[in-house]
């Protein structure tokens, strides 16, 4: 693998061909926030928190760093007024679903997000797909998947597979960015019955 040189936030960064901008930044100790990223999984590009700006001046464009491959001479900016504004909005959109998730609250603090900006709609799942993809890509069990589409989409376990596989695994639980909320969600649902 050949080495390439790029610039992230004014810092010269070395990367290997085939690395994404996110991986290159990580390797150089530059933090870019992520939610749906996991090093063992194929990049998903779903949460869009890891957006960065490429280029300079008028020709700047926004891409997601978890998918965009590092190129020789690339100029990357990981924080700007615009990037921060978009990240803040994304975090606020998540907080409408999971206002007490620790990971989200930490991000909210960093980006000054208001957890009450958007109308609440409790559903602890934020569609990062980590459980679904981990089960499929790493465990190769396909015990959990997405059902339906768009705003109606939710995760669901396949009972036949789950009954066989899940009791001794549960490796997806700690991956969930809103895991702590599940108890609260279930409790809330019980109380609202």
């Amino acid at each position: 693998m050949s080495e390439i040189l790029l610039e992230i936030d004014g810092q010269k960064v070395k990367a290997k061909t085939g690395m994404t901008v996110l991986e290159a930044a990580k390797a150089a100790g530059i933090r870019i926030p992520t939610l749906c990223y996991h090093e063992k999984l194929e990049p998903y590009g779903g949460c869009r928190l890891c957006i960065v700006e490429l280029g300079a001046g008028e020709r700047k464009k926004i891409v997601v760093s978890c998918v965009y491959l590092a190129e020789e001479g690339l100029v990357v900016t990981t924080r700007s007024e615009k990037i921060d504004r978009i990240r803040r909005t994304i975090i606020e959109l998540y907080l409408a679903h999971a206002p007490d998730a620790f990971e989200l609250l930490e991000l909210a603090k960093e980006y000054g997000a208001d957890r009450d900006r958007f109308a609440k709609e409790a559903s602890f799942c934020v569609h990062c797909g980590l459980c679904v993809r981990y089960c499929a890509e790493v465990k190769k069990k396909f015990a959990v998947g997405f059902v339906d589409r768009g705003t109606r989409k939710e995760i669901s376990f396949v009972p036949e597979i789950a009954a066989e596989e899940c009791w001794d695994c549960k490796e997806c639980f700690p991956l969930c960015p809103t895991e702590a909320l599940q108890a609260a969600f279930v409790l809330m649902r019980a109380l609202s019955l």
Partner: protein, 639 residues
């Protein structure tokens, strides 16, 4: 039927078809597209068959069931040849007279002709009707004369001549260069130059290459692709085969939505016949070129019209866009170079190869060449499909071809480009249609949807409607689209229902920016357009809804009241009898009153009140005047 093995054989075969046809033989063509079928075309066809039999004309009169003629407002359409007498809105009971008078005696039946609304004159020929006269039907034209189920009909109008010319007289590079030179741009939405896309695939490394037809037409009110699929499927197959030859593909797909059963039927039959004749399959026209086409029916998701989602769906997986920054012409279907173009784009290719890029580029504007088919719907007199050269003004399309707004209403805006397009106001009606021109005006060409809106349409509600459609059709993979649209819809609904607040517009603008900049695919990135373009041109309507709780178009139910003007009410009782909510208080010779607590705002009273009184009115943003006291409700005799 033995395969046609060379261009010479093809020309001989073509000549034989033409020789067998007697130009003087009576032929009744009947529009049999999905739109006309819905207006009773199938029943008319049965009557025609029966009546021809009954009148003993089976030998001398034939019927040809064609695809859509485009003038759907007035379908089903019959054209009697030779002579070309055109009858509109034909019902089964008209058929016996058409056969005995027109087909047999060559006499014109005046009552079935088109009447020019301005001059009152009857128009005999289809091409002289203003709706058709002002069009330029290069791609759509053959629909009028061929039976899509007959490959011989296609051959009779020079079908597969372009393929024959290319495979034997042009190298693959020459075909590519011709398409590049024509500057044909994708008719499906983005307007990307087709030749450039093809070239990328041609030059890309891959074990196999694919060409694909995007026939997942899903914009509300748009059906131009359906009309070509149903009415002239061979033109698409010929274009696709030419593309395959140019880039070196041997397999092609048509991704067609399941809601188009007649399109699928005609397409499958066309493929079968083309294979039988040797225009598809192994060793096409004896040239050694192999190409097969597979039809894939979609499962009903708007997002599958997006290129990467379509390819993912073709692979048998959930139709969601891919996040990769690699163009699908380099790595597409099964990670191989894949050219995806929409139906209309492919149908243009045989024309370009047949007549040359120089011929093609004489039509259109600097940046947009050729013609474009638009689906003209909404508050327009002549609903239908319209093909015009790029550069035609919106005004000409809406007034000259479309016949303007019905019911004496005032034009307000035209929504172009499908749900993620935008609304163009009256002061921009001189805009020449073209990819860049429409984008500059804050809308887009999209696939050619054109929805005309009149003064009774609330622009905030239009934005809400399209955002609702897009929310429903979002695949849900990325946050800015799934969650952003959900919130946008919520805020827009609040505004139209009178719960708008200060700061709503800023919040919507933030959400719009988030989706435009950070959504994964083109659907998400363009999803805020309905809001952005209506805000750009109709901000005052948003402000009226939010600040004054007033709907200027008097359309948003929650913001209007129905009120009977006591000065105008003549006590006729029309509204009282029709009100489904018993919300009208009145009686003989009494001024009628709307009980606001009971009123469900269905608008029945508004429609029921005779025009000569026009006493029922809509109020918005003002309090409803107090009802006339009971003792003063008796109507004095009018002068």
């Amino acid at each position: 039927m033995a395969k046609i093995n060379s261009p010479v054989e093809l020309e001989e075969f073509r000549k034989a078809i033409l020789n067998r046809r007697d130009p003087d033989k009576s032929c009744i063509t009947l529009c049999s597209g999905s739109a006309c079928n819905a207006s009773g075309s199938a029943a008319v066809a049965r009557c025609l068959e029966e009546e021809i039999e009954k009148q003993g004309l089976s030998e001398s009169v034939e019927i040809r069931k064609t695809g859509c003629h485009g003038f759907c407002e007035r379908g089903p359409i019959i054209v009697n040849n030779p002579g070309g007498v055109c009858y509109l809105q034909i019902q089964p009971e008209d058929v016996p007279e058409i056969i005995s008078e027109t087909a047999k005696e060559k006499r014109v039946i005046d009552r079935l002709l088109y009447t020019d609304p301005e001059s009152g004159e009857k128009i005999t020929h289809e091409g002289d009707i203003p709706f058709y006269k002002n069009q330029q039907r290069m791609v759509f034209g053959p629909n009028l004369s061929i039976d899509p189920k007959s490959i011989d009909d296609y051959l009779a109008i020079d079908g597969y001549a372009a393929l024959s010319k290319a495979l034997t007289g042009m190298s693959d590079i020459e075909v590519l260069e011709e398409v590049k030179k024509s500057n044909l741009r994708g008719r499906g939405g983005g307007g990307f130059p087709a030749g450039q896309k093809w070239e990328g695939s041609r030059n890309a490394a891959g074990e196999a290459k694919y060409v694909i037809v995007n026939a997942d037409e899903g914009d509300p009110g748009a059906y131009m692709d359906r009309a070509i699929l149903e009415g002239n499927p061979h033109s698409i197959l010929e274009g696709l085969t030419l593309g395959a030859y140019a880039i070196g593909a041997h397999e092609g797909y048509v991704y067609v939505r399941q809601e188009y059963p007649l399109a699928v039927e005609n397409l499958l039959l066309a493929i079968e016949k083309a294979e039988e004749y040797g225009f598809l399959g192994k060793n096409i026209l004896g040239t050694g070129f192999d190409f097969k086409v597979i039809v894939h029916q979609g499962a009903g998701a708007f997002v599958c019209g997006e290129s990467t989602a379509l390819m993912t769906a073709l692979e048998g997986r959930v139709g969601e866009p891919r996040p990769k920054y690699v163009r699908s012409n380099i790595k597409g279907l099964w990670n191989q170079p894949s050219v995806l173009n929409n139906v209309e784009t492919w149908a243009n290719v045989p024309l370009i190869i047949n007549k040359g890029a120089d011929w093609f580029t004489q039509f259109g504007t600097e940046g947009s060449k050729g013609t474009k088919i638009f689906s003209l719907v909404g508050k327009i007199t002549n609903t239908g499909l319209v093909e015009v050269p790029m550069g035609t003004t919106l005004k000409d399309i809406i007034y000259k071809i479309g016949g303007g707004i019905p019911g004496g209403k005032k034009f307000k805006a035209v929504q172009t480009g499908g749900p993620s397009g935008g609304c163009i106001p009256e002061n921009l009606l001189d805009l020449e249609v073209g990819f860049d021109e429409l984008t500059k005006a804050g809308s887009m060409m999209g696939s050619g949807g054109m929805i005309v809106l009149d003064e009774d349409t609330c622009m905030v509600d239009v934005a809400r409607y399209f955002i609702e459609f897009l929310t429903d059709e979002s695949c849900g993979k990325c946050t800015p689209c799934r969650e952003g649209l959900r919130q946008m819809l919520r805020i827009l609904t609040n505004i139209t229902e009178g719960r708008g607040q200060e700061g709503d517009l800023e919040l919507l603008e933030t959400l719009a920016e988030t989706a435009t900049e950070a959504a994964l695919c083109a659907l998400g990135k363009s999803a805020p357009n309905p809001f952005l373009s209506t805000l750009r041109y109709f901000r005052d309507e948003y402000v009226a809804h939010i600040e004054e709780k007033r709907c200027p178009a008097l359309s948003c139910k929650e913001l209007i009241n129905f009120y009977i003007d006591p000065e105008k009410c003549r006590g006729c009782g029309s509204c009282l009898r029709k009100c489904p909510a018993d919300a009208i208080i009145g009686g003989k010779k009494l001024i009628h009153i709307v009980d606001q607590d009971k009123c469900t705002k269905c608008g029945t009273c508004f429609d029921a009140c005779p025009d000569k009184f026009a006493a029922v009115t809509k109020l918005s943003g003002v309090p409803v005047p107090a009802a006339v006291p009971e003792e003063e409700r008796t109507i004095k005799k009018s002068k």
